[in-house]
Symmetry: C2
């Protein structure tokens, strides 16, 4: 959060492939263009999201974890393994994130008396306060992102992305999606 106009990023390998597409007719130009646009949008969105979170003193990993903890208040408190599965990172990563959050007093680790292998992770009052402070601004930010899209645009976009995600799911179940298409 220094430069503020960093993040022009944009054009890593994208344009290179686009140029390729002109010289090699066997390369499907529309596929190339669509993929690149998708990849680039995702990249820029993630980067800006990270930047927004950073401006509030947090990061992707920590924010996800806190949000997940807030959700899991009913019933037994979550264990690190639960959190790993739900946030999609490894248990080792959770350990590291919890260390940081605990040091900042946002979460607490309590060992489970029933099963002494388990750790129960609790959001502290400070953690809850922190989330309550951030969420309104975060909601405003993501609302402003999709603001230029009409209601119909949004439905269309969600529909198209759903198709892509379905495809991604198919491919990732195989060996990374490359060997499969021989």
């Amino acid at each position: 959060m220094r430069g503020t106009l960093t993040l022009l990023k944009g054009l890593p390998r994208y344009e290179v492939f686009l140029e390729e597409a002109k010289h090699f007719p066997d390369l499907d130009a529309s596929a190339c263009y669509t993929f690149l646009q998708l990849l680039r949008t995702g990249d820029e969105l993630l980067a800006l999201d990270e930047q927004v979170l950073a401006s509030h003193g947090t990061r992707h990993g920590r924010f996800n974890l806190l949000m997940m903890l807030m959700k899991c208040t009913e019933g037994q408190a979550a264990t690190p393994a639960d959190l790993a599965e739900k946030t999609g990172v490894t248990r080792a990563t959770i350990s590291g994130l919890l260390d940081g959050l605990q040091k900042d007093g946002l979460i607490e680790r309590r060992s489970d008396p029933q099963d002494r292998r388990l750790i129960r992770v609790h959001l502290t009052a400070a953690g809850q306060t922190f989330l309550d402070k951030i969420r309104p601004a975060y909601c405003r930010w993501f609302t402003s992102i999709v603001e230029p899209l009409s209601e119909q645009d949004r439905q269309q976009l969600v529909f198209l992305l759903e198709k892509i995600r379905t495809r991604l799911g198919e491919l990732s179940r195989k060996g990374g999606g490359v060997e499969r298409i021989a």
Copy 2:
């Protein structure tokens, strides 16, 4: 590249916000849903792309750098600063990436006799060979991603993403896009 069915990832804070949207009517549910879908698709696409590159023995950073070097063959060879700007990472990161690529013999650093501060980065024959070997498979992979979309779908998707990216550009020029919207 071990688990092959890793990458279920998916649902970090996304669902949590979706649930929020029900309880707080001031939270625009369609904006929320669209944003989350976009973020998640981007995340999954990037992750799978990384995995595909890894299966060919490379990674995002290195691949982008090599592709960029391949493009910049005409005229003076690129300097690390050029590459940093064009690939959208810092110069420090470029230094690290070049170290790795040089160790693997894919690039060469030559100092510029005119301006002795400058380093000229050259793709070696091995580097070119490496790229030539990877690109066809990479093209097949990304083609397969957008394959389920019709030509019209693709145009529509690119159009919508362009709108989003324009918005992202506007917001990132200000202070991360949050302070601006008071």
